[in-house]
Every structure is written in structure tokens, then in C-alpha cells.
Amino acid sequence: MDPLLLVLAFPLLGGVLLALWGDRERAGDLNAAMSLLTLAASVWLTAIVVRDGPLTVWGEWFFVDPLNVFLVTLTAFVGFTTSLFSRPYMRIERDHGKMTPGRMRLFHSMYQLFNGMMLVALTTNNLGILWVAMEAATLTTVLLVSVYRTPASLEAAWKYFILCGVGIAQALFGTILLYLAAERAIGGGDGALLWTHLAQSKHLLDPEILSLAFVFLLLGYGTKVGLVPVHNWLPDAHAEGPTPISAVLSGLLLNVALYAVLRCKVLADGALANGLPGRMMIGFGLVTVVVAAFFLLRQRDVKRMFAYSSIEHMGLMTFAFGLGGPIANFAGLLHMTVHALVKSAIFFAVGHAAQKAGSQAMEDIRGLLKVSPTVGWGLMLGSLAILGMPPFGVFASEFLILTTAMREAPWATPFLLVALGVAFAAIFGRVQPMVFGETSLRPLAHPPALLPVFVHLGLALMLGLYIPPYLDGWYRQAALMIGG
């Protein structure tokens, strides 16, 4: 029995199963159980990769190496905790009349399919299938974003579909160009789009084609990463969709898109000796960080604000990977992990806070500590973590990125520092009255599931203080793979 088969089969099976199961009793439990099985399978897969090293399976259609196995585990883990969180959360949403049985069925089924598509995108060896899986993941989340059927959510979903559709079309053009280059270098056929083959002969790829291909790929997948100026869909989709979806969008989908960019960057770097891909990523990343930080100041909707925070952090990661080198890549991977953990934790806390207040507007959410201390502390600690306060892991990764930037690209450091400062002022200034302050809100009908919040924050804290040696070795290997 192949663990990879299980990793991919559980969510896809879960999607079908939950579509049949519908909105019966325990649909939420089934959802969580399927995610748990996926997580178990991915842990098994990780153990095998740690023991035996990279492997390709099924005639090289899929492959697992340190870079993607770490993302597979992260995806399966956050997917599981989010399914735990969504169990009471969606029940409350249904009590509030926002969800009907049909929509619950759609939500659970699509949630599993979405996870499955991300895992396919992460593990496939074929860059064409990577594109197909990314597009399929978009399609499933479009349905999830519009699940409330309010005018605002429809608008957000339409924008999401059209903008990401256009963006990802550019990525397809880039993939076609890549195939063209591969055809010339290693011959056509099914093998020409396999990443392992391409990576072996990347120096043979035509530099002229590859530079154009990378521009299209970066713009295309960058739309899904949320890079400025093609980020417009992201705040809307995060703010209008159900909170579990905001959590997985921010925590996982953006990572998967960035993973796609990284895979392409490795090839482009191999073909081009001039470091153009890195410089482009530095440029896009820096602009994204700065613009997102200033947009943070103007937000009134709490989920929108944290969506912009996600854009900012994706920009930071793009910047780090653009710098390249073992330390920056290490920092980028670490940042990917802690951002996924912390941001999803924040969305869990924010979701319950917004449910309590009956509004996502920040001026309506007050005094969380009084009504529900756990939600309050979760939001406060999460915000501190995401803002890069020591001793959380975000501090470690941001510190590494900044120090590398000072050495490699000193001109960029002031911009980064200003952006981080502005982001701090914006988020902290708004979270503080939400957590403290007076309120007249009443507690929720169902007890919120806040265990995931603290598990995530605990992990982020641990990564800030101590990275276990096998994890450390794993990051180093992955960092080397993407051109350390």
C-alpha cells in the first residue's frame, strides 16, 4: 500500500462520501475524520521520505522530495485542524440561518476536494498537472467563497474566479513555453513536462524561452500567491467566504501557489545564469510587502485586515526566496510554516469573535476577554505572533530574512522595516480594543473549538525557540533543493 496513494485518495474519497452523506448528523465529524486519515497517511509518507530520501511513484507521475513532503504534512495538518474548527463554527452559522442543508453538503464535500486538489498540486511531477490541479483548487474554493449567496459573497467569488482565471491562464501560457523549451532540450512526449526530468537538464533549456516563460509563470501563479498588483481578489475572497475557508486559503492555498513559483524558479535559475528570476521575485515581493502594509491601515473589516496581512507575509516570503541562498531559503520555508500555523489560528479566533459580535466590522467587536477569554487570548497572542514578536517563530524567520537582506540587498532593508512597522501599528492598534475594552455581547450557543488555535500557536512558539534536528535537516535539504 502506497502512502502517497492514501494521501491523495482520502480527501478525494472524502469529497464523494460527504457529497453522498449530505447534511446528516455527524457530517462534520466525518469531515474531520477524513482529514485525520489524510494527516496520518501524510505522516507515514513523511516517515518514508525521511528514511529513504526522495521518491517517484507511478511511472514518475508523482514524486516526493523534502520540499514538497514538508508542505504535504503542513497542508494535511492545517487541513485537519481547520476541519476540527469548522465543526462547531459551521453549526453556529447554520443556527444563524446562513447555511442551509444543501450548502452544508456543498461545504463539506468541496472542503475535502479542495484539500485533495492542493495535495495533488503539491505532489505531482508533471507541471501541466500542477496547473490543472491549481485551477481545480480555484474552482472548488470559488464555490466555497460564494456559499452564503449574499450579494457581497457572490461579488467576491465572481472576482475571485475571473481574476484567478485570467491569472492562471498566464501561467498556462508560461507552462506551454516551458514545454516548448523542454521539447527542444530533451524531446517531446509525456516526459517533457516532468519536473524531475526538467530539473536534471535545466541547464540545457533555452534561456530566452525560459525568461519569458518565467515572467508568465510568476505573474500567473503570483496572482494566486496574492502578489501586488494582481492581489485584488484576495481580500474579498477572505472577507466574504466562511472563516474556515479564509483560514485554509491564507494558510495553505497561497503556500501551494508559491510552491509552484518555486518549482519554476529552480528551472529558470538553471537555464538563466543572470539571476533574473530572483531579482523579479525580490521586486514583486518588496512591492507587495510595502503596498499591503499601507493598505492594512485603512481596513475596517477584521477578516479583510488579516487578508492584507497574508498578502504582506506572502510578499515577504517571495522576497526571501528571491534573495536565494541557504539562509534566505531556510527563512522563507520557516516563514511559510509559521505563517500558515499562526494565520489560520488567527482566523479561527476571528471567526468566533465575529460570530459573537454578529459582525465583521472591527468597531463592533469589543471586549473579547470579558465574554470569552480564550477567544480573546487567542486573537491577542496570534496577532503578536504574526507581527513578529519574539519568541514566536515568525520573529525567527523575519529576523533571518532581514539580516540576509541587509547583506544581499541593503537598499531593500529600510523599506522592509518601514512596512513591518506600519503593519505593527495597524494591526496592534486595532486588535487591542477588540480584545480589551467594554462590551455587552453574549456568549455563543455552541462552545467554540479553540484547541486548534492554541495548538497552532504552541507550535509556532516552539519553532521560535527550538527547531527539532530532523525538522532542521529537512528545511536545509529543501532550501538546498530550491537553489541554496
Binding site: A136, W158, L180, G189, R298
Partner: protein, 219 residues
């Protein structure tokens, strides 16, 4: 005979390009769908010819796929949607067609310039048309920007897909079959979802005008 066929690929490429322009300028939704169907047919024939000339038999299959999807299935879906939404005879007011056309010309020049050095490296018989394919993609992009109604925007999206498909055929004699199947599947599912969306948008806003969808923005 074969040289004539090879030249006719160029002809079909130009037909695709002209149809992309025609779509930008077309006000009637019904005619827009007809134009899209024509574009799909031209694409299918071009793919067929490339397949015949290069002996790549999997291109026959993708030509058939294009034909079934773009000439039969999707147009039927679109016709049903506009029938049910009662927008069959809708005429859209367009903002300044000549200006849009001029921007289109600039895009075409840009695309040709971008593709020219790469086309020289390709060994495909239809390599010259890579620039045309890119131009089609950019023109559909332009169409999606200037259109304010849902159905034309969707048609722009589909026509962009046509351009991409043609790029794959022109530059590389087609992507691997499994990838093409995946892309076709995504497009089909996407169009179904968009179709459902249109009904929901209509229900919520009493109109298919995308201009209603401008509430979410930074203030």
C-alpha cells in the same frame, strides 16, 4: 498539397485573430456566441491540420475534443443560459470601440514582438503563429476588462482559453494528452460553475451587469 495545408494553418491563425477582434467590437450577445463558436471551429480545423502534417495523431483527438467542447457543448450551454436568463437579444453599450481597437492593435504588436525571437527557436511547422496565439490571449484579456456584462466576460474567458490552446498547438504540436484533458475538464467545470453563478447574480442583483459588483473595494 502539404505546403498549401501548412500555409492554411497561418490562414486559420489569422481567422482566430480577426475573430478575437470581432468579439471585442460585438455588441450583441447572441452574435458574440456565434463568433465564439466560429473561433472554436477554426481552432479545431487548425489543430486537425497540424496533426495531419506532423503525424502527431494525438492532435486528432484534441481537435475532436475542441470540436465537441467549444463548438457543440459550450455554445449549447451558453445558448441555454441566455435563453433562460432572457438576455438573448441584449445589446450592450460599449465604451468607444475605436479606442479599444487601437489598444488591441498595440497589444498585437506587443505580442508579436514578444513571440518573434521564440518562434524562431521552435521546430513546429506552425511556429510563426505563436505570436498570433499570444495576441489572441491578450485580446481576450482586453475584452474581459472592457466588458461590463457577465456573459461577454465569460465568453472572453473562454476565448482566452482558445488562444492558449492554439499556442500549445502552434508552438509545440500540442501538450501531453493527459494535460490537455485536464485543461478541458477544468474549463468545462468552470463554465458550469459560472453558469450557476450567473443565475445567482441575477437573483441577487436583478441584472447581469458586473457594475453592480463593485461594492467591495478599498475606501
Amino acid at each position: 498539397m502539404n505546403t498549401l495545408l501548412a500555409q492554411s494553418i497561418n490562414l486559420f491563425a489569422v481567422v482566430l485573430l480577426v475573430l478575437a477582434f470581432a468579439m471585442i467590437a460585438q455588441r450583441r450577445i447572441l452574435t458574440l456566441i456565434h463568433l465564439f463558436t466560429l473561433q472554436g471551429a477554426a481552432l479545431a480545423v487548425a489543430t486537425l491540420i497540424v496533426g495531419y502534417l506532423t503525424g502527431q495523431h494525438h492532435l486528432y483527438f484534441s481537435a475532436a475534443l475542441t470540436f465537441v467542447l467549444k463548438v457543440i457543448l459550450i455554445p449549447i450551454l451558453l445558448h441555454r443560459v441566455i435563453q433562460r436568463l432572457n438576455v438573448r437579444w441584449d445589446v450592450e453599450t460599449l465604451f468607444n470601440i475605436p479606442t479599444t481597437m487601437l489598444i488591441g492593435i498595440v497589444l498585437v504588436i506587443f505580442a508579436f514582438n514578444l513571440a518573434a525571437p521564440i518562434a524562431g527557436l521552435s521546430t513546429s511547422i506552425a511556429r510563426g503563429t505563436l505570436g498570433i496565439a499570444l495576441a489572441c490571449v491578450l485580446l481576450s484579456f482586453l475584452m474581459m476588462i472592457v466588458r461590463a456584462k457577465a456573459v461577454p466576460q465569460v465568453i472572453g474567458f473562454l476565448s482566452m482559453e482558445n488562444g492558449l490552446f492554439f499556442a500549445a498547438t502552434a508552438a509545440t504540436s500540442g501538450m501531453p494528452m493527459i494535460v490537455e484533458l485536464g485543461i478541458a475538464f477544468d474549463v468545462l467545470v468552470g463554465i458550469l460553475i459560472l453558469g450557476v453563478f450567473m443565475f445567482q447574480i441575477r437573483e441577487q442583483f436583478d441584472s447581469l451587469d458586473i457594475r453592480h459588483l463593485e461594492k467591495l473595494k478599498e475606501d
